[in-house]
């Protein structure tokens, strides 16, 4: 009896201990994560300007309006150009450099690691402003370089064109690639060197080693990186678009869902329409993440 009581109070203590960790986080998560999420979905069913005291319930009308909005397809297209452009750019660069910095004994690899990571420490605002100078049509670095090489004045407006969304890829990749490089390096370093040694003895070329050892055994890192890129891009591409092309470029050329949400909610006085776009982002990110996760689900290769 006494024993059972003691055991009980021990369990109680343990529960309290666990709760003390869970509760604050859970509360914060509920208040700042779940509540705004549902509030956003709730608001998307109204016709609310964002500054008015009256809320009119209009059901799904915002979503119907979205169907007829010519800008929405453009924003979705742009978001996915960024997502896939970034996945390709990030993964090519980070896998290449991670392999180069770990597998080929390059001198000063620590130095390169730092160099690649520096842009990650910079605020996106700084990155955006910096690259605006690079792209500046009349006094920018890029056009000056092209002019100097070709000998003709080159004044193409990189950020003022129909396809300027592609001009946003280099800065976004430059700004974030350090993180995935570090991730890949960690993944590759975790692969036991005995595997490579064995492959070496068997006469496998570097390329075969990469294909048969490095890639499968660091697949988890690649997967994580891709999902990280997808999620941060769909929810955060707003920043680079707004910093570099302000209101979405020429005729919405660089408008993404996030920036269009912002325009509607805070500029056009259509807060609930903005919320509806938020719901669209939520749905699309969810679908994309799940689809990519399914696509990349290779069999896990366990090291024994």
């Amino acid at each position: 009896m006494n024993n059972a009581k003691r055991a009980g109070s021990a369990r109680m203590k343990r529960n309290v201990f666990i709760l003390s960790f869970i509760l604050p986080t859970l509360l914060l998560y509920l208040v700042f994560g779940i509540y705004p999420l549902f509030k956003g979905i709730y608001l998307s069913l109204f016709d609310w300007s964002g500054g008015s005291e009256t809320y009119n319930f209009i059901g799904l009308d915002n979503f119907k309006e979205m169907m007829n909005d010519d800008v929405i397809p453009k924003t979705i297209r742009n978001d996915y150009i960024l997502v896939f452009g970034k996945i390709i750019g990030f993964m090519l660069i980070s896998v290449f450099f991670a392999v180069a910095l770990t597998r080929f004994n390059i001198k000063g690899s620590g130095f390169y690691r730092t160099i690649f990571f520096i842009p990650n420490v910079l605020s996106v605002v700084v990155v955006g402003v910096l690259w605006r100078y690079v792209y500046n049509p009349n006094v920018g670095f890029l056009n000056s370089a092209i002019s100097a090489i070709t000998g003709k004045t080159y004044d193409f407006a990189w950020l003022g064109d129909k396809w300027s969304i592609f001009a946003l890829l280099p800065p976004s990749i430059w700004a974030g690639v350090g993180f995935t490089i570090i991730l890949m390096i960690a993944g590759i370093l975790a692969i036991p060197s005995s595997l490579y040694e064995a492959a070496e003895i068997d006469g496998a070329s570097q390329w075969r080693q990469f294909r048969l050892i490095t890639l499968p055994l660091s697949w988890e890192q690649i997967k994580t990186s891709v999902l990280w890129i997808v999620m941060t891009t769909l929810s955060g591409s707003f920043v680079i678009v707004t910093i570099m092309t302000f209101e979405g470029g020429v005729d919405n050329a660089t408008q993404v869902m996030g920036s269009y949400l912002y325009m509607n909610a805070y500029k056009f006085g259509k807060f609930s329409y903005g919320s509806a776009i938020g719901v669209l982002i939520l749905i699309l990110s969810f679908i994309t993440t799940v689809a990519l996760q399914k696509l990349m689900n290779r069999e896990n290769i366990e090291l024994t």
Binding site: R11, L26, Y135, N136, P137, W158, G160, F246, V250
Partner: protein, 463 residues
């Protein structure tokens, strides 16, 4: 048994917490929507014409009085001065100033919750008079404004350069305080140097443009493609009025979202001027990517001869202006030979909250502001023209401000009303005009897009 009990207890408390949080969130929402119908009849009560309309000085004002004002390019020196004077006049009034460059965002929750300040100066990012009227936040001043006098005993409406905009037909909700104008700017010193003469009409502008192009030193016309409302305000809008035979009623038609106004002949002709400039290659190629400061500094560096802008450009670029640069201003460049200039104004307004707790003080303050002395002090302290009629020649207002006010007072200048259309339509027009200057769309497509976008908003507003 006891283990099961504990488990239920733990989960029970988690659930309890969850419901508490959720119900707290839900509760506040209901309260918000409930209070609005109850509060609105009270607000309309206070909209009764005030008895103190004629003699603001006679009454002693008491109680709290809150003033919201945006602090931007014009600074806050003038506000500090007039509020100080007003306080001296009414020592029993407890004046609270809510001011700053971010004040519009900071005060937004209070406007939504229905406890706004009494008096508001509507200017800067995040402010939009038309939206505030649509949201029913401003006091209807129509009747009061008809008879209201300023502190000098003059009729308030006689003191204004630009009359209040009718955001709703026949109603006055806000009174313009700042008055400036869009226009086309150039460097007088450069023009003198090169022997160029500032154009008087579109014909001479085109001729000069050809000369500048032949000169090969700079492009003719640079503008900010990131904010195409600069080119709309500085080039297109005055052109529309000029092409309408200087009849400003077309702006009213635009503002009331009348069907077919965009496809009317004057708008077509005005757009054609842009197309002519485009086809001659006058627009700086870099323009679409430039924001306002980029375009302005490149213009200051003589990378282009002309720029559409507002009168604030002089003080905005004060730190980047090269020595010897002499700001020149033309209200418009698109008028026909022998025609008049068209000045397209921009205004910032003041208004009283519909739910003001001290509307009498707010009205008295409004009457107090609109005197000639305050018009002069605005020009001196804020370095820009105000909407109060005042002779600025003797003041130490900046040269560009004086030059502009000379244009406004001249017979050869038509002051048109401001184009105030919903923000969504502003953006659509920005996009369409920029696409037109790049040759991405034709005049017909421009018109088509505008008519469609306007129709969409019209059908929504009538719902």
């Amino acid at each position: 048994m006891s283990r099961l009990f504990r488990k239920t207890m733990t989960w029970g408390s988690v659930l309890l917490m969850l419901t508490l949080v959720l119900s707290a969130c839900g509760g506040s929402k209901e309260k918000g929507s409930e209070s609005s119908p109850a509060a609105s009849p009270k607000a309309s009560e206070s909209a009764k014409p005030s008895e103190s309309a004629s003699a603001p000085e006679g009454v002693k004002l008491t109680g709290d009085f809150e003033i919201q004002y945006f602090v931007g390019g014009y600074g806050d020196a003038w506000w500090k001065e007039v509020i100080g004077e007003f306080q001296q006049l009414h020592p029993d009034l407890k004046i609270k100033e809510s001011a700053g460059p971010k004040i519009n965002d900071q005060m937004k929750p209070r406007w939504i919750q229905g406890s706004p300040p009494d008096f508001v100066y509507i200017d800067g990012a995040g402010s939009n008079t038309r939206q505030m009227v649509t949201d029913d936040q401003l006091l209807d001043l129509t009747d009061w404004f008809k008879t209201a006098q300023n502190s000098d005993g003059k009729l308030l409406s006689d003191m204004l350069i630009a009359q209040p905009e009718e955001y709703q037909a026949g109603k006055v909700h806000a009174v313009p305080l700042v008055f400036g104008s869009w226009g086309t700017f150039y460097d007088k010193a450069l023009f003198k140097d090169k022997g160029w003469e500032a154009p008087k009409d579109f014909e001479s502008f085109l001729a000069l443009g050809d000369k500048i192009k032949a000169d090969g030193q700079m492009s003719v016309y640079i503008h900010t493609g990131v904010y195409p409302y600069y080119i709309n305000g500085g080039l297109l809008d005055p052109a529309i009025v000029a092409m309408n035979g200087y009849d400003t009623s077309i702006v009213k038609k635009i503002n009331s979202l009348e069907a077919g106004v965009w496809s009317s002949e004057p708008v077509k002709k005005a757009l054609d001027k842009i197309v002519q400039m485009r086809d001659k290659g006058f627009f700086d190629k870099g323009s679409p990517a430039l924001n306002h400061t980029d375009s302005q500094s490149q213009w200051l560096q003589h990378k282009a001869a002309f720029i559409p802008n507002g009168l604030w450009v002089e003080s905005e670029m004060a730190n980047d202006t090269p020595a010897g640069f002499d700001f020149g201003f033309l209200p418009s460049i698109t008028q026909d030979n022998g025609g008049k200039y068209v000045a397209n104004p921009y205004v910032a307004t003041v208004a009283i909250a519909k739910k003001a707790k001290n509307p009498d003080a707010a009205k008295a303050f409004l009457q107090f502001l609109y005197t000639e002395a305050h018009g002069k002090s605005w020009a001196e302290l804020s370095k820009a023209p105000s909407n109060i009629k005042a002779d600025l020649e003797a003041t130490n207002a900046p040269a560009l401000t004086k030059e502009a006010s000379r244009f406004y007072n001249s017979d050869s200048t038509v002051v048109s009303p401001e184009v105030v259309i919903p923000e969504e339509l502003v953006t659509e027009r920005n996009n369409a005009t920029l696409a037109l200057t790049k040759g991405d769309i034709t005049t017909e497509e421009w018109i088509d897009r505008m008519e469609k976008a306007t129709e969409k908003i019209r059908s929504k507003e009538n719902k």
